[in-house]
Symmetry: C2
Subunit: 500 residues, 2 copies
């Protein structure tokens, strides 16, 4: 109210200056002041008005988006089930302390709930920590499960590139003490199957091992205490050139230039079995226990991947580091490749669409006695996949149906609502997907238009003469063909014409 | 630390008393004090220990529970799709102000998020308010959609009866300006179909109309200002006898005893078309505009329900009130009936499993210009249904499979891991659901036991002789029958034997 009075006073002052034919510059100055005061007032008013939006970084899914989402989920779930996975679900929030100390620096991105009395709660940040909590709580030492659910991160959203504050994760994990690299190889096979089935274009799965990285850091002369922080610098190599990463290592993180250069030689290496063999002969790496273990397992992994026939898309890549602290062995990340132009020789990476690795220590963090349950798992980056497919659908102008309705029950004349309702009830009871317009006397043209708009393939038309004859007129929307079908055969006829 | 020192001092005091052979009573007293101090210390330590649990009122779903949940969802989604519904999704949280003023007294049960900078957010309390916000925000005036998602209420949980703080809602709603009672009748048909398909036992769907209730309150002499509060008393009639409800009306809510008694006469009425006709002739009700409108529409509704063939399970019940403020027309609630004992004559209601009604004003609360979009919808009370089905499964000892694996790839001899991996890869690539034990040399007995435990019907056994002969031994777990199948026919053979 005080602000409004101030605006009125300023307006009065401007009016008087004009009346007094004052210096135009002075008038302009006071008018500018008035406008700014008004804008300020307007902005304040705006704040108190009702804002019709979803929270920052979140979105609704429209029926069309849901149709795309269901297609993608269907491919992924079919794959997870093909590999014999069970499914679990956990609450959207956890006790705050369950998430504490699991995500390192990223903990600041966790959404906390308001303390309204009772327990302190936070929204889940991923599905892996709740999974580990679930295993420890239920003393499960052996499970293969998937979990598809939303997770929450107070990150800077980049929604056009599929980065949200609320987003889906699709996780598949194998927990249990098994012979080396067999479950790890299956995780990679799953990524290969899903990315192939989704037909997203060419892709490559980069593979590395935390033990190889740690061994490499050791032989390059990185002090133990700097392993994690240097690892997170290496992790930036997919977004930054080596020179920048190197200067971060030396400048910000105090690594010796010699050590950094030494790392630089290793992280440019990528290849297959040949590279593994070469590194197993590397005079320095082969002397390091961790690196030797990691390289041995990597060799075994490649043998299994050869049996699966998928090594063509796997690249052992020493620059792959992955951000999360809890990985202890194999790590991997799948990226889509895009042949942007003819004159670009190397395919361009358009970003990660799946990732995962082995985390043998996480469950032990929850077990009162610290008992470990080795785990390996993969997470499909579903939001980026949605974005790609949505853009593709937009570009292609492909018409996506958002319902599965097989037939619209219509009438050509008035006063046939009762007959329409009787017929549709028969169809529903027989399991036919059917709709009717919620009008007493809809025009036939409007009914046919509704089918065009929504992609309903058939129309069952009730008419007075047909009712007397015991038939229903069945119209095929695409061809405009019409046939009379005896009422008792209608269900069978619709089934036949809509089965694929 | 101070407490620990105090305990040590007390222990020393006890030791000295014993050494001095003090009065046994005094020793006992000091020992008791020591024990209490120790217990206190232990409890404090416990508080700081890690608590391995899910938040109050929430639960994990195990694979077995998920299998039941998927069966139920499958029935419900199939029904929603049969009726031509699209599907949408909304974020788990909304701007706090979106939920403000929609739930009356129950607003205190809303979960707020902590203010971490940025917008003030709350977890959704139901799916109806987000749906209304979605319609207004996207200016949608016409949609038939379902939405299945979790909602959150800081209520007192009663988990054995299926009441949680995090729980699923399955909502189907029809929005748009249509001819009266056609969408309303379809909602009731949907409830009837779902409860029949789920085979939960006998049920009844109670129906009433807010306008009939309001008209009834008016002719009974309830002041306008008391309509809502008296309505919420009537809503308790399914849990409390009339006498208690009456004394709440008169005592707590200050209604005249005459008005209460008058209401008492109406709310015991329930029936079908006959009752509607009788009330349309009721000298008082027929004079009330609202009641007359409501009764006229109720008659129309019953005509449509007769065409759908479901009036046998519908009861027009004047005691049905429903809690939520936003209903404006038809309201309904489905309850399961249970023939508890032979000597009980009336079937006993075991609680509501679905409910809904018409809310023509809610979307207008979000529209900047107050434009209304009439809506009617139904919500399936899925958690209570889960509870019932879970208990039924427990009681029946029915074995529920938690995976869909068709075949286990096994070996009878050692050193055949490579051959197993090669074969399973072929099966996966052909779309067969297959598993393999993650052991280099598993015992055949263990592999067969795994099939017994998890319900896998077939075992494909790799053996040295069979490999030479180009065949795989296929074993039917249930019958122990074994046949040799040529490797190139294995996929077809597995498909044939596991198709139903």
């Amino acid at each position: 109210m005080a602000e409004e009075a101030a605006v009125r006073a300023q307006a009065e002052a401007v009016r008087r200056l004009k009346q007094d034919k004052a210096d135009p510059d002075e008038i302009a100055k006071e008018v500018a002041k008035l406008l700014e005061m008004k804008a300020q007032l307007g902005a304040d008013e705006g704040k108190h008005k009702f804002v019709l939006k979803t929270p920052k970084g979140t979105r609704d899914y429209s029926p069309k988006q849901m149709a795309i989402r269901e297609r993608v989920f269907n491919v992924i779930i079919t794959c997870f089930k093909r590999h014999g996975a069970e499914v679990i679900d956990t609450p959207v929030f956890e006790l705050k302390e369950t998430l504490t100390g699991k995500y390192g620096e990223d903990s600041k991105l966790i959404y906390d709930l308001k303390d309204q009395g009772g327990e302190l709660l936070s929204l889940r940040y991923d599905l892996t920590v709740p999974f580990a909590r679930y295993l420890a709580m239920n003393k499960i030492t052996n499970i293969k499960r998937y979990h598809i659910a939303k997770v929450y991160r107070r990150d800077n959203p980049a929604m056009t590139r599929g980065r949200y504050r609320e987003f889906y994760q699709c996780d598949f994990d194998i927990a249990g003490q098994f012979d080396p690299m067999i479950p790890d190889a299956e995780c990679l096979k799953i990524v290969h199957e899903i990315l192939s089935d989704l037909q997203l274009g060419d892709f490559i799965i980069k593979v590395n091992d935390r033990r190889i990285l740690d061994g490499m850091f050791a032989v390059c002369g990185v002090p133990d205490s700097k392993f994690r922080t240097i690892c997170s610098s290496v992790d930036k190599l997919d977004k930054m050139p080596w020179e920048e990463v190197r200067s971060e290592m030396v400048g910000e993180k105090g690594l010796s230039p010699e050590a950094a250069d030494h790392i630089g030689e290793y992280v440019q290496l990528h290849g297959g079995l040949d590279l593994i063999e070469r590194l197993l002969q590397d005079p320095k790496l082969s002397q390091n226990k961790l690196a030797k273990e990691g390289l041995g397992d990597m060799k075994l992994l490649f043998e299994y991947l050869t049996l699966f026939g998928i090594t063509g898309k796997i690249s052992f890549d020493l620059s792959l580091a992955r951000g999360l602290d809890y990985y202890t062995g194999v790590i991997f990340e799948a990226v889509l490749l895009q042949q942007e132009n003819d004159h670009v020789e190397e395919p361009v990476s358009v970003g990660s669409v799946a990732g995962g690795g082995r985390y043998d220590g996480l469950v032990g963090m929850f077990d009162p006695k610290g008992r470990k349950v080795p785990c390996v798992g993969v997470s499909i980056g579903i939001e980026r996949i949605f974005s790609i497919l949505e853009q593709r659908v937009e570009a292609s102008e492909e018409k996506i149906r958002t319902t599965e309705t097989q037939v619209l029950v219509a009438s050509a004349q008035k006063k046939l609502l009762e007959e329409r309702l009787k017929l549709i009830s028969e169809l529903w009871d027989a399991g036919i997907k059917a709709e009717v317009l919620y009008k007493k006397n809809p025009k036939l043209l409007n009914q046919l238009q509704y089918c065009e708009d929504t992609g309903i393939p058939l129309v069952a038309i009730v008419g007075e003469q047909e009712l007397k004859d015991g038939v229903i007129k069945l119209r095929v929307v695409a061809t405009r063909e019409e046939v009379n079908v005896r009422r008792e055969s209608l269900v069978e006829e619709i089934r036949m014409r809509t089965s694929q």
